[in-house]
């Protein structure tokens, strides 16, 4: 049963550790004001460039702001932008891919051509072009990321529906008198959902990196709103003077993305057990 798969994924050692980290980051992002004694945007120049200490666990940045506080608030920006972007991308991609597979004909050919064209460009290039058009900021980044990943989900959904369309249980539903809506909503989309959601999970990891990259270029959330990429960008000039400013956001991005990938892998493994059972039966 696929509903239990996310929980079964947590029972694997790597999936459990990864899930714990992700829960911690998500919780920190949600409860940021409760967890941090400092404000993320109040400058205290006399406390600038402090190394990690008991008062500032991860040190302070060039304006004397607490790094941990900014990292936690940065999680809000980075995670919400990436997750929302992927959610938009998945929703649009599923509708487009399902429609292409379902209607076929010229619509399918048009969608396939556009998807293949987009597919041949790196995501970062598409995102950069779009941010250049829309303008920097969280909204621009969000739209750019969701368009950059649209091709992936359209393609995946289309392939899923194409395969499922030929299954006998679709013909069986038709023989009972089922209409298009029933077949699409009760059979095709639910069966296509699991692989699309797992791939969305993994893409969220990539989206965090993409968001950080755009932030590093100064195209993401604008100061003083903290984002992980923006923090790394500020720290890059100070690598020798105050290395913690770039190291901690970098580590956070890396660990979070690795955690997402590990959990995603555990999820795939958990779902694969069902596939194996199905084949063996």
């Amino acid at each position: 049963m696929s509903a239990a798969a996310p929980i079964r994924a947590l029972r694997r050692p790597s999936g459990g550790v990864a899930g714990l980290w992700l829960a911690l980051v998500a919780l920190a992002a949600v409860a940021a004001p409760l967890l941090t004694p400092y404000a993320y945007d109040v400058q205290a120049l006399r406390e600038a460039y402090q190394a990690p200490s008991a008062a500032h666990w991860l040190g302070t940045d060039e304006f004397g702001r607490d790094l941990l506080t900014r990292l936690i608030y940065g999680a809000r920006t980075s995670l919400s932008v990436s997750a929302t972007a992927i959610a938009i991308s998945v929703a649009c991609g599923m509708v487009l891919g399902a429609a292409a597979a379902w209607f076929g004909g010229w619509f399918d050919r048009a969608v396939t051509v556009v998807v293949d064209l987009t597919w041949s460009f790196p995501e970062i290039l598409i995102a950069l072009i779009l941010v250049a058009i829309i303008g920097p900021g969280t909204t621009g980044t969000m739209i750019a990321i969701s368009v950059a990943y649209l091709a992936q989900f359209t393609r995946l959904t289309r392939a899923q529906i194409m395969t499922l369309k030929g299954e006998t249980f679709i013909e069986a539903a038709r023989s009972l008198g089922a209409g298009n809506a029933h077949i699409l909503l009760r059979h095709l989309l639910p069966n296509a959902l699991a692989p699309v959601l797992v791939s969305a999970m993994l893409a969220t990891g990539d989206a965090i990196i993409l968001e950080a990259t755009l932030g590093f270029f100064g195209l993401g959330a604008q100061p003083p709103t903290p984002s992980w990429g923006g923090m790394m960008s500020a720290g890059s000039a100070l690598v020798f003077k105050a290395p913690w400013i770039i190291i901690f956001p970098g580590l956070t991005v890396a660990i979070t993305v690795i955690a997402i990938n590990l959990y995603g892998d555990a999820l795939i493994a958990a779902l694969d057990i069902r596939a194996k059972l199905r084949r063996a039966a």
Binding site: S2, E167, A172, S175, H182, R186, A281
Partner: protein, 314 residues
Amino acid sequence: MTEPLILIEALSKRFQSGGGLFARPRAMMAVRDVSLSVGRGEVVGVVGESGCGKSTLARLVLRLIEPTAGTVRFDGTDLTGLPPAALRRMRRRMAMVFQDPYSSLDPRYTLTDVLSEPYRVQGEPLPTGRVAEMLGAVGLPEAMATSHPHQLSGGQRQRVGIARALALAPDFVVLDEPTASLDVSIQAQIIALLSDLRDRLGLTYLFISHDLGLVRYFCNRIVVMYLGAVVEVLPAATATPRHPYTQALIASGFVPDPAARRAIVPVAGEVPSPFNLPPGCAFAGRCPRATDQCRTTRPALSDEAHPVACFHPI
């Protein structure tokens, strides 16, 4: 004589394939000018080797695919001209059991979902206890209602497929090789179940199979197809074949009794490509009795008590 439950007249289906950028599309007649009737309570078998169009015929009869020509009348109503809403209502009176019990059930559905789908699709409330009743009717324990298909064996799944087909108490069921993907021992159980259900519910079956032995055991009348066309209709399961192809089919069957074992005479020649059929009898190239007439003129199904499409029947 009252009108038969199913009356198929001059049914044809033409498939086109290929037709890419440089390829010219090729057409084949999967079903060619088939006429057939199935009386109420009758079990009519359709046999033929794979690719002869018997599964296409099954789908045409239920209008799961649209015919190129011809009509199918179900209890006096022409299905081929029926608008979608009326066709949907008609579907509660006819059902199909599919060959592959592995892909004919949605892997995400529980057996309760599978068995309540006919009701949901027809917009009817599911009577309480109906799922358990249906499971019981096909010999499955009630506790299986919450199981998923992957937890079931092939035979159990096929029982679910049968229960789903019978959910809305149809008059007519098309059985498309319901035992072909099952073990021999399970096959016998499924045939016994189908036979029992027919007696209890007064069903009419169109039984598609490539196994002439099985069809002869189970059916009242047998339609023999070769390359999309009917070559012979055996009026009774025990009737002696008149078409050389039917005879070859029977001769190729295995006899379980070792004492009765005999040499199998293989049918000479190859099956012609359905894309490029010879002008005359499709079987002429492999037939020991073929003459020049057979190679140039296509024989029509004769209008006799034991119809055969052959110029030189046995």
